[in-house]
Amino acid sequence: MALRKVKGNLERMFDKNLTDLVRGIRNNKDIEMKYITQCMEEIKAELRQDNVAVKANAVAKLTYLQMLGYDISWAGFNIIEVMSSPKFTYKRIGYLAASQCFHQDTEVLMLTTNMIRKDLNSQNMYDAGTALTGLSCFISNDLARDLANDVMTLLSSTKPYIRKKAVLLMYKVFLKYPEALRPAFPRLKEKLEDPDPGVQSAAVNVICELARKNPKNYLSLAPVFFKLMTSSTNNWMLIKIIKLFGALTPLEPRLGKKLIEPLTNLIHSTTAMSLLYECINTVIAVLISISSGMPNHTASIQLCVQKLRILIEDSDQNLKYLGLLAMSKILQSHPKSVQTHKDLVLQCLDDKDESIRLRALDLLYGMVSRKNVMEIVRKLMTHMDKAEGSNYRDELLQKIILICSQNNYQLITNFEWYISVLVELCRMEGTQHGCLIARQLLDVAIRVSAVREFTVGQMALLLENANVVMGPTTVRSSIAEVLYAAAWICGEFSQLLSNPLSSLESLLSHKVISLPGYIQGVFIQNVFKIYARIVITAEEEEDKETIEEVTNLLLERLPHFTSSGDIEVQERATCLMQLVNSIQKGIQNCEKFSLELQELFAGEMNPVAPKAQKKVPIPEGLDLDGWINTPPSSDLDDDADDKEFFGNAFKKDLFTKAESNGDNSRKDSKEISEDELQKRREARKLEQANNPYYVKVSSATHSPKFQKHDNDFDNIPVTPLNLNVPLKLAGMTSVDKYLIVEGRQSKKHKKHKKNKKHHQASSSEEDVPDTLLVNRDIGEMPEGASVSDEEDVDTRPLDDPHRALDIDLDIPLSPTEKIPTRSHRESSNINNKVPIEENIMTSNIKTDIEKKSKKKMKGKKESKLTKEKRKRSKNVEKSSDQCNELEKEAEEKIIDNYLNNKSDASQSKSKELTNLELLLLEDNNNGLQQENGDSVHPPVEEIIEEKKSLDPVDKNKKKKEKKAKKEKKSKRSGRKESFKQYEEIESPKEYEDFKEEKLPNMKSLTQNSDIKVNYHASFEHPCTDLFIGFEITNQIMNGNIGDLSLAVQCLQSLQLMTQNSSDSILITPELSAMSSTIKQLRFQVDDDSIPLKLRGTFSYKLVLDILTSEGNLSVVELVEETASLYGQSLRHHHICLLAKMKSKSLYVDGKSDNSTLLANALDHLKQEFHRL
């Protein structure tokens, strides 16, 4: 034996430890993969050993490998084993590994609840500390619920180290288990005044974090924080508090007024830049919230701006960045005071740091005036040429458009210039903002009629040179969107086209086929518009040849599209084909079409307000949410639908805006059939955009062919050769020419009077007259709708945990509101042997789970994880004592078969307590949401509310709040275990069918899989006696329920009348399968003016009880239908069982260090069940 030990030690000595692993990886750089695979094998071997030290070492190495990106989730059980070690050294390794690789969905976490609880309550402060830290990383909903109370107890630990960590962990608990917030909050609030600064700042930290998301609930804490702010010298905490005030002031302007003074003092006095900066930030927030009514607020603004200027001018780039960040906040409310620092901002635009340039860009938005917009935009465009990252370039592009389009183009005086800017922007490589440019082009073309001709000309050029514009990088960029706009503009304003025929040709060229489907669709639609235009003009001029030529062109080219894979394109093309065909026939018969064609596209386009679409009233009788056809059954389809929808959100937006509204505004169309057709097309297009089954052609790369257009040679302006810009196109406008004409003056400014420039500009920027008539309205809105009515919507995503934390904390706690405690496995009969037992327990759990996974393999579901587990379990079996293992296997099989055959529906549920509450409410008041918190009857599970009018005599509406709860109690040990189950109250109709003849007003109270409880309440005159009849039904197919009793906690004003003094009333000693019984109880009501709540508990016995009582076992863990049990014999042999309910049969797996004991125990249990 001693030799064995020596051998073990020796072996361990030569095991690779973490340092060796790290060193090994570095030494084997070239064959890293191979080396690590080899190490993994070693680690797996180490994990198979029994020695915890070896395991811990292996887990430590795994932790390192996890950081390198290797999946170690298969070692979850081993990590838990190491975590459960009594030695701090190993525990720490285990928890570290767990915090690295466990997350809230990790399955094995459900095994850790009790272990973590034990660690939290450990006498060793560092054990608890490690557990707290680990838990903060992987806490799950279940862990949060089960451990909330333990963590809360630690809040009043004597050790600040623990208190501090517990306080921080509470935040995580709240996120996962919002119900804990209200009961725990007073305790948390106390911690704000904790003697230990660390605890104090942790509490501030947590409350700040909570308040940031739901500030209005924390307003009442303002005085406490105010006191802290004026008294504390801890800068870390001050920063947090000041930040918190920043979030609170918008809700309470009075608070802001109070804050200004101390904050200003701090700004003057502090030497810490971080504190100074946060003070400024909060002052800004205050000033925004009280923009008026403060006599000296200009002084404060000045102070802030002044201090910020110092920050921005600082050589420290960090301060510069933050200064700009804060400046942009001031800009929103006090643009004037920022504008005086324009020089500084423009200087920052040239900074080498991208982050700083981006911030300066933000500021620029507020500094642009009519006078300097051209200059600034030009500057930005030069930046764009120079910018290396496409990210920054996109940002610049977005800013340019934002600046120019603000307030419906208020700043733009020359729209030709703006169109040129947009066209030039199209040439930026790889931009993601094609949509943005497209939208701008459309908007400007519609709003500014004077610039339309110019725009149309540019767009026609753009179309002709489509492949050049799109360049070789089409795949990533979205610049093709511009062609969408170009095509639409050319089509809609086709009368302005200088050469409609060539535009038509470019719209129908072969290259178009590689564009995305929805763009091709627009192309075809506009081909028709242009075609109509050509035919109309040609008919006026009696030019039959042109008509024939153009018709033939269409008939020749359209077939490319009719065979398109995109249904949309195909359909449009086919329709157009048919139309053109019939027109061709008509023309041969010398018919005229100009009138019809004209009417097809008559009407003027107007801009549409951004929200107009949303405000269109839904016609009566139109149900937009209902299914038109029967919905598809599978959930997957829905998902796909959603995704598709969001993916197309923009496309759809553009379509409806540009097309369907256009249709609506075309009035007096006589040819209904044509009009109808048009509308149907639109509708279909919309539908297809949303249709998940609708395959869209992805845009393919154009081969970068550079084509010279001979006929354009005359128009080529002499442009300077600029190598930075990818390509200049013939006839394509350039921004530069405007700057030569209009910017000469400003260029001079720039060269010679740089310092004075801003002064000059601001003095003369007031009035530059509009040169063009521009429609600067917000746009058309449906009648009766206004743009301003905004809905206050919570924009947080639905799964944001902070949504659930929006809880009013000022309402006093009701006595029942408590965090559930779980008394299960509390230390009453676990004494000093705790660590050892724990150790064995977890290893038992491990084997249990492995067995379970083997079972799963028999079934159909084979997750990857289980495969892993199976492999592992095989390995384990090989390495461990084979004989024993086989023996046990055999044992189990026998008992399995036996139980299977017997199909005795012995439920694996133990004694269940159904806790019910009756809340009687006089009046229509909605009762406060009551929660159960009695420590005797622990967890709150599910609250089901139902309103009903009870007694016609009283004519009072009564509200019943019912709470159903199940609880497990192990009879002998007095330990309890609870688990969650959702209760369903059956629909009233069902019960009426069921029990009408007995008690007509029976209402369902609660039910679970075992029993169902209905009740009926009635009053006797003179309203002091309340009779409640209970009807209890045993729902188990073939199993009896024993010792069914009801325990009611009486209230002063509502008392149960019983013969004896005990709280519980035996309803029935035995209830056979599928039968029911009725019992009526009398309550005395003394005061009916207040809501009364009565809590009662139904208790009964079931199978698990038998397991635990007969086997002298204790329940370790209960998960749904599975229970793991543990027991110890007199001679300290351990035995461990896994009982599992599966389709009405009970499976029991067992493991013990003494196989005879196990066999006998199983035998005994088998007999017990047989007897039943």
Binding site: L3, K7, N9, L10, E11, R12, M13, F14, K16, N17, T19, D20, T63, Q66, G69, Y70, D71, K87, F88, T89, R92, L96, S99, Q100, C101, N124, Y126, G129, T133, S136, C137, Y161, K164, K165, L168, L169, K172, G198, S201, A202, N205, V206, C208, E209, W236, I239, K243, S274, Y277, E278, Q317, N318, K320, Y321, L322, K352, D353, S355, I356, L358
Partner: protein, 169 residues
């Protein structure tokens, strides 16, 4: 060698994602000159615009923190400073030190002396537990720590136990 540390909440991402974040972050951060600001605005990878990368660069090490808007930017820079100074005092298992500094993504302690006391306490506890039994192991690891020439390493220490096993005790 570059080393990057994250508040552990990042570990909720699966390994692949995690590696990608680390890689991209490293690319972003290492590209930056020393005389630019230490903040990087959040991309979609790290959770959107509410998040920032705040880093400090010391010799060959990058310390990168990913924080949301509830943290003060300059405060975090100071925190990194505290972290680095702590490491300077006791460079050991970096994770444990980080755990004393940040917990579940929230700042836990900023006082360096407090952090060092806690770390030392815990190390003491480990030593106590190890006791005598660990002595040989420590000796071996000390031997291993001496930079043995490659030849000696090629003797392949791991094989030794297998040989011993075959002797049949």
């Amino acid at each position: 060698m570059a080393n990057q540390d994250y508040p552990s909440f990042i570990s909720i991402f699966v390994e692949e994602m995690q590696q990608q974040i680390i890689k991209e972050t490293f690319q972003l951060v290492s590209k930056r000159d020393d005389n630019v600001c230490n903040f990087l605005e959040g991309g979609s990878l790290i959770g959107g615009s509410d998040y920032k990368l705040i880093y400090r660069h010391y010799a060959t090490l990058y310390f990168v923190f990913c924080v949301d808007s509830s943290e003060s930017e300059l405060g975090i820079l100071d925190l990194i400073q505290v972290f680095v100074e702590t490491l300077d005092k006791c460079f050991e298992n970096v994770h444990y030190i980080l755990n004393e500094l940040v917990m579940g993504g929230m700042v836990l302690e900023t006082n360096m002396t407090e952090i060092i006391t806690r770390i030392e306490d815990q190390n003491k506890l480990e030593k106590q537990e190890a006791g005598l039994a660990a002595a040989p192991a420590r000796a071996v690891s000390a031997v291993k720590n001496m930079n043995l020439p490659q030849q000696i390493k090629d003797i392949r220490l791991p094989d030794l136990p297998a040989a011993i096993k075959d002797l049949k005790f």
